[in-house]
Point group: D2
Chain length 503, copies 4
Amino acid sequence: MSQIVISGEKTTKFEKKFKLCVGTGRLGLALQKEYLDHLKLVQEKIGFAYIRGHGLLHDDVGIYREVEIEGKKQPFYNFTYIDRIFDAFLAHNIRPLVEIGFMPKALASGTQTIFYWEGNVTPPKDYKQWETLIKVTVRHFIERYGLEEVKQWPFEIWNEPNLVNFWKNADRAEYFKLYQVTAEAIKAVHPELKVGGPAICGGSDHWITDFLHFCERENVPVDFVSRHAYTSAKPHKTTFEYYYQKLEQPEDMLHQFRSVRELINQSPFPDLPFYITEYNTSYSPVNPVHDTPLNAVYLARILSEAGDSVDLFSYWTFSDVFEEADIPKAIFHGGFGLVALHGIPKPTFHLFSFFNQLGETCLYRDDRLIVTKRDDGSIALVAWNVVMEEGDGFEQQINLKLAIDAKEVFIKRQTVDEQHANPWRVWQQMGRPRFPKPAQVDTLKEAAIPLLRTEKREGLQGWLLLSFTLTKNEVTFIEVMPVKDETPTYAGLDDRLIISEHN
Amino acid sequence: MSQIVISGEKTTKFEKKFKLCVGTGRLGLALQKEYLDHLKLVQEKIGFAYIRGHGLLHDDVGIYREVEIEGKKQPFYNFTYIDRIFDAFLAHNIRPLVEIGFMPKALASGTQTIFYWEGNVTPPKDYKQWETLIKVTVRHFIERYGLEEVKQWPFEIWNEPNLVNFWKNADRAEYFKLYQVTAEAIKAVHPELKVGGPAICGGSDHWITDFLHFCERENVPVDFVSRHAYTSAKPHKTTFEYYYQKLEQPEDMLHQFRSVRELINQSPFPDLPFYITEYNTSYSPVNPVHDTPLNAVYLARILSEAGDSVDLFSYWTFSDVFEEADIPKAIFHGGFGLVALHGIPKPTFHLFSFFNQLGETCLYRDDRLIVTKRDDGSIALVAWNVVMEEGDGFEQQINLKLAIDAKEVFIKRQTVDEQHANPWRVWQQMGRPRFPKPAQVDTLKEAAIPLLRTEKREGLQGWLLLSFTLTKNEVTFIEVMPVKDETPTYAGLDDRLIISEHN
Amino acid sequence: MSQIVISGEKTTKFEKKFKLCVGTGRLGLALQKEYLDHLKLVQEKIGFAYIRGHGLLHDDVGIYREVEIEGKKQPFYNFTYIDRIFDAFLAHNIRPLVEIGFMPKALASGTQTIFYWEGNVTPPKDYKQWETLIKVTVRHFIERYGLEEVKQWPFEIWNEPNLVNFWKNADRAEYFKLYQVTAEAIKAVHPELKVGGPAICGGSDHWITDFLHFCERENVPVDFVSRHAYTSAKPHKTTFEYYYQKLEQPEDMLHQFRSVRELINQSPFPDLPFYITEYNTSYSPVNPVHDTPLNAVYLARILSEAGDSVDLFSYWTFSDVFEEADIPKAIFHGGFGLVALHGIPKPTFHLFSFFNQLGETCLYRDDRLIVTKRDDGSIALVAWNVVMEEGDGFEQQINLKLAIDAKEVFIKRQTVDEQHANPWRVWQQMGRPRFPKPAQVDTLKEAAIPLLRTEKREGLQGWLLLSFTLTKNEVTFIEVMPVKDETPTYAGLDDRLIISEHN
Amino acid sequence: MSQIVISGEKTTKFEKKFKLCVGTGRLGLALQKEYLDHLKLVQEKIGFAYIRGHGLLHDDVGIYREVEIEGKKQPFYNFTYIDRIFDAFLAHNIRPLVEIGFMPKALASGTQTIFYWEGNVTPPKDYKQWETLIKVTVRHFIERYGLEEVKQWPFEIWNEPNLVNFWKNADRAEYFKLYQVTAEAIKAVHPELKVGGPAICGGSDHWITDFLHFCERENVPVDFVSRHAYTSAKPHKTTFEYYYQKLEQPEDMLHQFRSVRELINQSPFPDLPFYITEYNTSYSPVNPVHDTPLNAVYLARILSEAGDSVDLFSYWTFSDVFEEADIPKAIFHGGFGLVALHGIPKPTFHLFSFFNQLGETCLYRDDRLIVTKRDDGSIALVAWNVVMEEGDGFEQQINLKLAIDAKEVFIKRQTVDEQHANPWRVWQQMGRPRFPKPAQVDTLKEAAIPLLRTEKREGLQGWLLLSFTLTKNEVTFIEVMPVKDETPTYAGLDDRLIISEHN
């Protein structure tokens, strides 16, 4: 078995772009207590900088209404709920990456909706009123949160307008119009506010090029380019409960990132930042892959490498408090969330938590491993073993030869795999209770804790030989920390005497 | 290997007397935040009914002072701290079992003290003033907490007066005098208050007999008999840091309990309740055995069986916030606590937590196993494997044939042994840091979680064959819960399709 | 000015029925954090036993869906949200009084809805499926919470079926059918579960008589009779924001209670309990009277006397987290809540809190005053001064001659009136900010605290002369507590010396 | 009555030096929960940067011990408690200003102690061991908290060595020796660590000059000069409970500050920062003046002006959790604390909280008033009325003519005086209960809230005439905030209709 020698002489910077942003169910859900409990957990262990979700202008947040006053119809702007939502975000130390959409019913030109919660996806019936809505809303944000704060919130116009179910007829010209009006309205409030689009999903990347040429041609402001990325095909089976889909290999997502970056590079705005404002394996909120360790190992390489090609990438989503396909029908239902209902971390949660504990100095990286040095001198690595096949086995051994400063090291290893930190498996053993009782929830939480293994090891002439085996779909996090041995300070210490021959 | 057949036809009652009471470091420590954090943890997971500790009348709680007012010396009674302490106990849903002692300096007849914190162990210089102190104090308790509450607080007179270091000269006659004055003072406040003694440690059990005859002869009130029990011999080595002692077999403690109970039975008060107001393996606060899994397995049989002979037994102590032998010199220092400094549960904590989750219907019990049924129909058992020898191995297999009602069961097993839920071991691997840093404390907390294993099993004609192996010094907790399988309600479910051949 | 002499010789029992139940916005709102924050506050200070709201079967809670599985339509019962809601209620120590309604869209026979949130108010399209829904749901409650718990939950069938906007055509025969099917379905799950109706509002009290005769004639189970009560007329002005209505005198509500009780007494079930499952001044969620001190003083007599005629009366509602008339458009918007948005207590909150601190022994009661004795011997009274007129003045003096045991008393008085604990007034001073900033919310919270006045008084031969003036719309709470004067124990005390002539 | 015209044209900077540091009871008390509860409250409302107290090296913190290992006596350094204490400080966002002292018993050359808690005030028996103790301790701090953190901790050597009760014989030469050894030991650990002294109290200011000349002559490091300041004379009466003392006028303290600053200016180190590491009215922990509104008004001018002459001044102390004169004998006992036992804020707490809410732009300042502008454009002022005489009356009127930008302003006024936010007075009305019950504590907390008054006012041609009357010993805090009147947006609003003639 080959050995990877890591001398620490050549290093690169590992920027933690994976924690710049995370997705959320529609903003109206942020009023819920369970949603905020999950957000608290995620922020404590990962600490995303931004959060992005649909529904800012949806009727449940209710910013826009038309009312009749003395016989005259006029708009009424209600910030009761959005204030509560953004207050909560900022209190949890996370900023909105503001997606502008969908259409308030009263302002919509049509009745087409998407999702269980019926987001209206038609253009405004009156662009003038839309423009006013945007300006009033953005001004309100500035008045409440201050200009310096709001200047840090990217505004992204609409969501996946290249799909007919997200934008009526996927009408590109209409989208460009919407973009122009909206972007200009935002810039009119303050020119330093940041706007971008076109927020498309994969499959129509010519939109990117067209969009940027449009912006150049029409002199429309654009501060970033955004796109989504999933690696699942159309479902090969759908049931009342679930979608089952083929997944591409993890590399596929990295290819998507690079090819769009290339399009931007060749556009009139080659220096624009590129934001992946959504990504995940499957784009379905009921694909059980999201609940599995496979989802975690699959994404490990993305967390490790995507930052090379994009400026921000946002995991879709942080929580299973989510309603696109109706209220969740069971605690595990294939939702996107890092956190399942009742606050249970899924394997992908730990993936993010592990990467979050890496250092920013990269000592070594390949397609199943990233090794970093932390500021305190300790070494932290994540390794993973993607197995997209049925059955047992598939173990992989990794042999490292690590340069270390210390004579002795304490090695702490945490494991997520099919058998550990996999509450979905334990839930199956319980008989897949849809609405588990408190004691069952407690067990599922206990079952969501990674396996911990520790040992003390001596180095050999400045090197540590570190070999470990990854099981099927294991993601493992290993920390190698210098030991300052205080044992000699315990005068007369003799553990054997605890139960000596005298007993 | 033999099989234990548990049909569930003959059952006994398992009273959870082990949770009636727990010991504490001197009461003055209950002002500390860390102490109360540990108490909160213990009460959440175990929920003791009473707490008992030294130092009610010690000068750091400061109830008794002598002051000079207008040239005249007079007592001043200060309840500032004891109110805060007892308020906190009751807020944590635990009542004081009130140990009367030690002697306030101002009221002491001598200067002999015990412990780092210098508890004065001499008789009062003036029994009249002592009597007043007792009355004023007990009346204050009633005024603050109400008579109905205080009637539930047993008052125990002094601590281990049969030892010269706890009571000057171990003077029995003087103790009987102290007992009489104190008990009568308490009864004078209200006749339904409960008093008892003599709170001796082992080795002088004739005191029990003498004490009860004294009470009869002198018509002195007594509502319970109390004694302590440890199973350690004199240390065969002491160091600046540690005591090393020989331990008797666990049965030894049960023998102690039964023999004293027998003495009471033959006394003038054969029906008096018998309280073990302290017990543990070693009586030393710096014996590392307390930090080990051995301490847990050793005590398992006591928790299982002691309730047969005694009415209350109180583990000494709930927390390592304790100062008898000076301020703890290292996070692990051999303290009595269920909880180590920084809130880290030790193996014995889990022993109590496991027993606390047993049912009250006992299906089977022997010297390494107790099997119970819980009110919800599930089976819960604790098994243990005491190994008081060096080296590896020593595994034990247990084979059970359990009558079950359900077709399928979910089995949840939690393990504490040398390798798991043993933070003391991980601390050694870290180089025994005396004053660990926050990240080290986090690791120790993670290392203090029992190993969880789960499985789903089918019964066979109403029986479940349950075999498991106990490692060296393992205490294992197994729950067998009926499965209500909801899997068929997920129409079209096919886990194989998550990663099908289509992939 | 006349004097009321209260010797304490004749007493009656004051049962705190006002705290048996409280109303809530539709159950789906109970998922929200702000809702639960308000509930916590209300439970801490008042502690209602039950909570009742609409929308158990509304689509946002989502219990009932119809789905297609393998080409066949079939019901799917989803308890994800209702479990979370009822778990939260019980965690806050409040039980549901379960209102059965409104109609799930998929089960509805029509499209008529009520409220912004579109509760469907048509009969089921299929009573068999309705019956199954009821049984499955109630069985789920029992499985999750236990039979003993659910036996304590009254089930009330529908809401105000005598109004055409709450029940299609206000069709009485159809309601009786719905009642019969539902009540029998619940009793089929367990005969000890409690059912009742007809939950009408005032104006059609013949329904009560007809309903009870129907139950007798058809042998339909009924365990309690329920009705609502408001004292406001039709609005004399409505605006986009507000309803303005004439209010009857407070007595009017008591008359309503007594007259319906009389109807029950003369019915075939004269012993049935009578529940007022909703009451308030105005029935509109946008009548500003709810935000005023007038609302508090107006209801004082109801809290004092309603328990004489009814077995339970439930203030509608505990919180302004409420959406019947759209999302609240301003922090103060005339909502029913005891607590305004952002957790600000309104005057009526304090009314309940004051009554909650009364004793259960009534010493004296009239139409503006209730005087009680508490278990600890202290006297607690509430007095109020209803002024339904514009302008200043309207003060009232009350002169009491109270028998007291103590030589000295400490008198604590808390006042809510136009000037104090009236955050609505301060909000007006601020310029009525619709969406106040955090600092403004802080000020409003400070402004919501009752004015405190304290004094020490000596009695005269066992009597205390207590005179006080009530301002316009003041509700005042006075506690008279014996003083145990410890001043003499401070030897040498001389407050004058703090700043003596030496200075 | 004269008018103060504040046009806002000339402004000065108001630096909030009063919040740079606060005093504490001995560090060992920081282990207590009540202590930390008070610290939390103080940090939330005031937010001091540093905390300074005695007892770092006292035996209850227990850093230094001498132990015998294999027959040889040797030092043992125990950081168990100091780590817990400093961890807690930093967690509450406050840094230690480290006072080095008193002497560990084992290292002391004598037995002289100070205070109930017996701090040893004798020089080290061996300066070499002392030096090692200092180095080991400071190195430990750096290892635990990092060099960057510890570089921000000033180290002050000893406390009031100019008093015979704080330093044996008040031996100046011995102090200089101690200072030199200690300062050099600290600098030897790292030269950028900050050291200072001589921490004297008033009355021996020649020590300052001598000390600085000594440092220059002997080339001893010194980074700041420190001194204490109280304005009370020797007690004219002491009792078992209390000290009564004459107070100088508030100016006296400012004179003390200026005169010492002058001494430094004329010393060899004219640019050294000058720290008042303790100040208060009385230096006695049992002078009831500390519990009064007088204490607050008295200190108002110090908070307003002291920053002109000193670089840091530290109120002695934040909490009545304090034991110099034994355990507090009553809830109000004349302790130094901003917060009384049971977490009750005293008048001086509010003084600090009010000053903390001032802006940093000073518009006007005199000896009873400070007017500031805040960043948001609002005006905030504190005014006070010192009355050191018996009796009623003594009101003072203040008339301001304030330039304002807004048409309308919202005025919020909070008052502390003899009648309001004066829990000490209410406690007297209660009969001065030494150990109050929970309900009494609740009343005292309610009584500790400042009186709130609000109004809306119109300006006149850019000016606001603001007149207010200060009662005896009132400190008042007034905020003048622009109103953005949203009233016109409520279409059809008519408050009179809530109770119209229709009623």
